[in-house]
């Protein structure tokens, strides 16, 4: 194995990675007696202290249910929850905060659209278009609803580099396509899809477009009005926020016409046994007590994230990914899976004669946390004729030193299996 060549990293104008690292307490620990090197941010990002403190503070000070009681704690919690919604609106540049629905995460956001919009408006002969590189959570909800209504699921194939090309997309798109559901960024490969172009093509055929933004929000800027997408889904925990909270953005006009996803408290205006009148947006889609502290914590994560120079954050991440790509390619017998130009934040790879799970266990013993497995994207694995990959994925707190630690750990893998 040769040492990776050194790439000059722009000297952090506007972004001080050491200071950012100080904000993430989980980074500062040892695992198996070695300093933790966390390279699994595509699974979940670590949380800055301000998010942890905010969630704790909600429970310590403002613990109450929202939208109900007249007492002060409830007023404070309600105000903070709605304030978080406004922060999400501003983050996505949605027109109105009524277009922002809090969910449990990306998966629930997608299921909401499948069961409310698609189940109501799709019928036999209609088609839902997905791509080959989707996460299972952007495949299975559509399989379920297609079966329910007799619609067909059509798959846009990807290239061997892991790209979705306009031509392949156009070939599968037709006048029968009612909805396109696709990743903004691939979780298994890091590919950034050319969504602006694909959305325009879909709209020409009068199809709606849902973007799965789970892997995008922390790495590329998202403006739902500029994108002109109809639905956008993401999870808080991949944006340095808490687990168990996510967002569905939907165009107001579409959300207005959709029936509730779940029935329960808070989503109604009045209930009698004869008739129930549903609440206005966005509450119509937020049945039951929501993840109050989680949503407020997500608001804090957005505040933290936007307090940084995001162009500088992205330049830093892109430089570390480039360094990682070259460093990994220099490891003998290592093959990168997913090599689309312009990809972000993830490097999936295989090593000769070593199964990804063995790689994962061995590098873990060196303190390096990576993900191994099919990444909930089995069709992607099938495309490459493999069962699993090892994946190193980046957050803004990662540095080239982390990549060096990974490469040293991969050296250990080769020693053991050599």
């Amino acid at each position: 194995m040769t040492q990776p060549s050194t790439i000059a990293i722009p000297s952090g104008v506007g972004f001080d990675v050491r200071r950012v690292q100080d904000d993430f307490p989980a980074l500062h620990q040892e695992v198996h007696g070695k300093p933790l090197v966390y390279l699994d941010s595509a699974a979940t990002t670590l949380k800055p202290q301000t998010v942890i403190d905010t969630v704790s503070d909600v429970y310590a000070r403002d613990c109450s249910n929202i939208h109900r009681a007249v007492h002060l704690l409830s007023q404070r919690a309600t105000a903070r929850y709605e304030d978080a919604r406004e922060k999400v609106r501003s983050f996505l540049n949605a027109k109105s905060s009524t277009e922002v629905i809090f969910t449990r995460g990306t998966t629930e956001s997608i299921n909401l659209v499948a069961q409310s919009w698609a189940r109501t408006f799709l019928q036999e002969g209609d088609e839902v278009l997905v791509t080959e590189l989707e996460h299972h959570s952007n495949i299975v909800p559509w399989q379920i609803v297609c079966q329910q209504v007799g619609a067909e699921l059509i798959v846009v194939p990807m290239t061997d580099r892991g790209e979705i090309l306009r031509e392949a997309f156009e070939e599968r798109l037709s006048s029968r396509t009612r909805l396109v559901a696709m990743a903004h960024v691939s979780n298994a490969l890091g590919t950034v899809l050319p969504v602006e172009e694909l959305i325009e093509l879909a709209h020409e055929k009068r199809a709606l477009v849902l973007l799965d933004g789970a892997q995008a929000v922390s790495h590329i800027s998202v403006d739902v009005q500029a994108l002109d997408c109809d639905f956008y889904a993401f999870s808080g925990h991949k944006l340095y926020g808490p687990t168990g909270v996510g967002v569905l953005y939907g165009r107001e006009r579409l959300l207005e016409g959709m029936p509730p996803y779940q029935g329960g408290g808070d989503m109604i205006r009045s209930v009698t046994f004869a008739e129930t009148i549903y609440n206005d947006l966005p509450y119509k889609f937020e049945a039951g007590t929501p993840n109050v502290a989680g949503a407020i914590g997500l608001g804090a994560a957005i505040d933290y994230f936007r307090s940084l120079d995001l162009d500088a954050v992205r330049a830093h991440e892109s430089a570390v990914l480039q360094y990682a790509t070259e460093a990994l390619e220099s490891v003998s017998g290592l093959r990168l899976i997913g090599t689309a130009p312009g990809k972000v934040a993830s490097a999936s790879f295989l090593m000769d004669a070593v199964h990804p799970h063995d790689i994962g266990t061995i590098v873990d013993s060196e303190g390096v946390a990576i993900r191994t497995g099919h990444h909930c994207a089995q069709p992607v694995m099938e495309h490459f004729g493999i069962a699993a990959t090892a994946r190193a994925s980046l957050g803004m707190y990662n540095t080239t030193e982390d990549i060096d630690a990974l490469v040293r750990a991969l050296h250990k893998v080769q020693e053991l299996f050599g």
Partner: protein, 149 residues
């Protein structure tokens, strides 16, 4: 935690060159195994002669732990009765799960004791038991697919 506890020479050897990594010429039982956690798949066939496992082999792919476990398992159960093979699985299972008193049985496990280190790696227990679950499935002639879940 010592990696060598997990990746013992025997395991590395069997992982790299699994024994009985082929289907037997004749078989009357078959099992398929799937670990949904990692996507690993194996298929196992065996020739049951009365109550005795005359021949057994497997094909498929997986990590060093799962391949070595399948390999050593096929060696261990060949020539054994169904009851003996099942008893061996119970002991093996107790060992990798780190159950109380499991160590007392280590003598009867023979070469399979090299998997004792797996108990320190809870995420890898399923790798070590995939082959055994599949064998169990084949012996019971259940059809379908054994999973580690």
């Amino acid at each position: 935690m010592d990696l060598r506890e997990l990746y013992q020479e025997v395991i590395l050897d069997h992982g790299k060159n699994p024994r009985n990594h082929r289907f037997p010429e004749h078989h009357n039982r078959e099992g398929r195994g799937y670990n949904p956690l990692c996507g690993d798949k194996i298929a196992l066939r065996l020739q049951l002669d009365g109550d005795t496992i005359r021949d057994v082999g497997f094909v498929g792919h997986g990590c060093a732990i799962s391949q070595a476990s399948c390999s050593t398992m096929t060696e261990a159960v060949k020539g054994k009765t169904v009851e003996e093979a099942e008893a061996l699985f119970s002991k093996f299972h107790a060992m990798v799960m780190g159950e109380d008193g499991a160590d007392d049985d280590s003598d009867s496990l023979g070469k399979l004791v090299v998997f004792a280190g797996v108990r320190e790696f809870p995420m890898r227990v399923k790798c070590a038991t995939l082959g055994w679950h599949t064998l169990n499935h084949a012996l019971r002639d259940e059809g379908g697919e054994a999973t580690t879940e």
